[in-house]
């Protein structure tokens, strides 16, 4: 009996299967289009498994060339404990809570074991800088070989989502670092667009609640590492000035009037729904602006500026990271204290040079909004100052991890504002102490 060979192809980023056996159930998600089955590239793995299980021959045209011996990354010794678990689950799965050093070990070990060309997807250029530096220190280069195929390519999530249609068949190991910090549509575009057979997700402990979102693309949760001890944390409650208080209360009142009406009309709708509606509704939009105004006043004000000045002076000479709420406060602090800023607006080369200078000790302090969250290595600073703003528990945990366990994190909280509740809600561990502070002006 002649058995037709199934051909697996990738065309313009879409998986296509020709000659699928009629008596084999195709993986869910493939649709018939003429004589072919078509679907997202991620289904390549499932399709191969189905064909192997039914002992049907197939020709996979997508397979990238394996790593040559001189391209293989050095494997750390001893190998990470989570490696065996990952290999045992058919080289697919999520690992949560690993510290930075162990993440790097696991990625290198996975690439070494599978001999697969690897695509590492990170949140932003700051995280990319950290990974490149860490891999260089391990003696592993991320340069391309002569054929133009990279042994280990690193790219940001946005770039990966946009370019996956041509990247899809150039790697067979997909690693996504901290998907909980990336926009959900971007993560899904990356996971669906990649045809990699081997998949590894590295999640922070705060991302556990969302593990189910990524199971189709990255597999199941395999291991949760215990969280190391955290640095000492101190909440400083700072008062608003009279003018700032008046501004805040006025803005808050405007916001609450609209939000209360919204909540009464739609009791089951969340804050996100209010934001979406308010953007389009002329009558509600002032409330949205008022909300932002209130947050702005609370996140950076005269008392916080004075507190920052005192803390910078107190910890002069130590490695210091200031996590500012936005660009304006970043530049203000940078001017006031001659501390190098790191913002997305600065030229990329300048940003990379600044982060490298901090890593090598030529600079002792940095100030910035989001890029610092992942743009410096874990435990690379002695003092962290969380000035205000922020997008949730995961981000705050990422910021705290930049500080060494022997260091200290100050969280500046504006008294009697929305920040008080947020600070307690977002903190993973209770602050060692919180105190009302009246800084010298």
């Amino acid at each position: 009996m002649v058995t037709d060979t199934t051909t697996i192809l990738l065309t313009e980023g879409e998986l296509r299967l020709r000659g699928w056996p009629s008596d084999v159930v195709p993986p869910f998600g493939l649709v018939a289009a003429g004589a072919e089955l078509r679907g997202p590239a991620r289904l390549r793995r499932r399709a191969r498994h189905a064909l192997v299980a039914s002992a049907r021959p197939f020709c996979d045209s997508i397979t990238p060339s394996p790593l040559a011996p001189d391209e293989c990354p050095p494997t750390p010794l001893p190998p990470p404990s989570t490696l065996a678990t990952w290999l045992a689950s058919d080289s697919e799965g999520l690992v949560a809570g690993l510290p930075e050093r162990e993440r790097i070990d696991l990625v290198l070990a996975a690439a070494h074991q599978t001999k697969a060309r690897t695509l590492l997807v990170v949140r932003d250029s700051g995280a990319e800088t950290v990974w490149r530096r860490a891999l260089r220190e391990r003696g592993f280069s991320t340069m391309t070989n002569d054929e133009g195929a990279c042994a280990l390519a690193i790219t940001s999530a946005g770039d990966a989502a946009h370019s996956m249609h041509w990247r899809a068949h150039r790697h067979d190991l997909l690693v996504v670092d901290r998907p909980e910090q990336m926009p959900a549509p971007t993560v899904h575009a990356v996971l669906d667009g990649s045809a990699a057979l081997h998949r590894l997700g590295l999640v922070d402990a705060h991302g556990l609640a969302r593990v189910g979102e990524w199971s189709a693309g990255l597999g199941t949760l395999l291991a949760v590492a215990a969280v190391d001890s955290s640095p000492r944390r101190l909440h400083l409650h700072l008062p608003l000035s009279t003018t700032e208080r008046a501004d805040y209360e006025t803005a808050w009142h405007t916001f609450l009037c609209a939000f209360d009406a919204f909540a009464a009309a739609q009791p089951n709708a969340g804050f996100g729904t209010f934001i979406q509606q308010a953007r389009r509704d002329d009558s509600q939009r002032p409330a949205l602006f008022a909300w932002h105004r209130a947050l702005r006043v609370a996140s950076y004000n005269a008392a916080k500026a004075a507190a920052c000045a005192e803390l910078i002076e107190r910890h002069r000479g130590q490695r210091l990271l200031l996590f500012a709420p936005d660009r304006a406060s970043t530049y203000e602090l940078s001017r006031a204290h001659l501390i190098a800023p790191v913002t997305a607006e600065l030229p990329r080369r300048e940003r990379t040079d600044t982060l490298t200078a901090f890593a090598t000790g030529r600079l002792r302090a940095l100030v910035g909004p989001r890029l610092l969250d992942l743009g410096v290595s874990e435990g690379s600073a002695d003092v962290g100052i969380l000035i205000g703003g922020g997008f949730g528990e995961a981000q705050q945990a990422a910021r705290v991890r930049r500080i060494a366990t022997t260091g200290i994190v100050y969280q500046l909280v504006a008294q009697d504002t929305v920040e008080v509740g947020r600070a307690h809600r977002f903190a993973r561990t209770p602050a060692a102490a919180s105190t009302d502070v009246h800084p010298r002006r």
Partner: protein, 384 residues
């Protein structure tokens, strides 16, 4: 910012519809002029003030109902047009030196004084302009000549076309005129345009995105400002964007802002000849840089194609001042290959054996159009 430097629109701001297999952009047209005029007036009030203030104003104001989703791309293009070029390198250097000096223990006054002196600035000026090169701090400048709503509309169209082309993976370009300029620019940008077919008046070019080259399509898009300078063109590109595939077609009839004017003539010789010929030969048309000729393994670009208005075939005319005499053999090879080829050479450089050749017009200081016209009036014959 010079209009040559307007960047393509990003993916999420491309507005188009899919009709059969064609991706039709939502071109800006005369119907957009009213709200574009208001947009320009609003921006003009912020001249001299930081960009961030105008952005803040736009964020807070109600969307113009006439604009809809097209407002964001219009604002983006207008902002690019109104920002002056930045002195980024100098500012980066200033910042790096200043923060390094502070990290090394210098006091604030010392660090500022040292860096300010090395950049020939006052300390106050240095601090005030520390971030002046960044987008949020740059002051808006009203360009000269002042842009009109129509100018803005066709500028946006160009950025829209370039944005669409950035998603292309293959393309075909049919070009009438301006072939040498386009091919030379493509070569300079490492855009892999291949000549597929060349007729007397037009040339057909093909482009295929090289495997794994993420920037190839951007380089293709950078040719768009040149295309309106051709007499006619049609560009068909297979694009893939936002989950949709289709063909994007750009022709000379689409209103896009032309880029800076390429040089009309390479020399005064050519310019004088063109003026004289057109004044003399009323029933002839003269096409500049028509199409390349294949000569062996190379392409040759005659300067003109001349033909009677009622005829399909014409004559290639090459005016060679021969600053580089090593190219003479190539030109003579072309003369031997093409029966409809007229080569104008300086009299003292014509090889003795070719004096009196039917295809060669010798000149001293100026190419005489009546001599060339006399040659064109003769029937073509195989020479050499």
């Amino acid at each position: 910012m010079p209009i040559a430097s307007l960047a393509p629109l990003p993916l999420h701001q491309l507005t188009f519809t899919r009709v059969d297999d064609e991706l039709v952009p939502a071109w800006f047209s005369d119907r957009d002029r009213p709200w574009l005029r208001d947009l320009l007036q609003e921006a003009q009030a912020f001249v001299g003030r930081p960009v961030a203030e105008l952005l803040s104003r736009w964020r807070r104001s109600d969307d113009d109902p006439r604009a809809g989703r097209r407002l964001a791309p219009a604002q983006r293009v207008l902002l690019q047009w109104l920002q002056p070029p930045s002195s980024r390198l100098e500012h980066t250097k200033m910042r790096q030196e200043l923060f390094a000096a502070a990290a090394n223990g210098a006091s604030r006054r010392e660090a500022l004084a040292t860096v300010a002196t090395s950049h020939a600035r006052a300390s106050d000026d240095l601090m005030a302009n520390l971030f002046a090169d960044l987008p949020h701090a740059r002051a808006l400048v009203w360009p000269k000549p002042a842009p009109s709503p129509s100018d803005l509309a066709i500028a946006i169209n160009r950025c829209l076309a370039q944005g669409m082309l950035r998603t292309a993976h293959r393309a075909e370009l049919q070009l009438v005129g301006c072939a040498r300029t386009v091919l030379r620019t493509a070569w300079l940008h490492a855009t892999n345009l291949v000549v597929v077919a060349a007729a007397a008046t037009h040339v057909q070019l093909r482009w295929q995105c090289p495997e794994g080259d993420a920037r190839a399509a951007r380089r293709l898009a950078s040719l768009v400002p040149l295309l309106p300078w051709a007499r006619d063109f049609e560009l068909r590109a297979a694009c893939r964007l936002r989950g949709t595939s289709g063909t994007f077609v750009l022709t000379a009839r689409d209103a896009i802002l032309p880029g800076p004017e390429p040089r009309a003539f390479d020399s005064a010789l050519e310019r004088h000849f063109a003026n004289d010929f057109l004044a003399l030969a009323h029933d002839w048309e003269l096409l500049r840089e028509p199409a390349p000729l294949v000569c062996g393994s190379q392409l040759a670009f005659p300067d003109f194609l001349a033909r009677r208005r009622s005829e399909q075939t014409g004559w290639w005319i090459e005016i060679a001042g021969l600053r580089d005499r090593s190219v003479l053999p190539n030109k003579l090879a072309l003369l031997a290959q093409e029966p409809n080829y007229v080569l104008c050479l300086p009299r003292h450089l014509v090889p003795t054996a070719l004096l009196g050749h039917a295809g060669i017009v010798a000149f001293t200081h100026r190419v005489h159009a009546e001599q060339v016209l006399a040659r064109l009036s003769q029937p073509p014959q195989r020479r050499l």
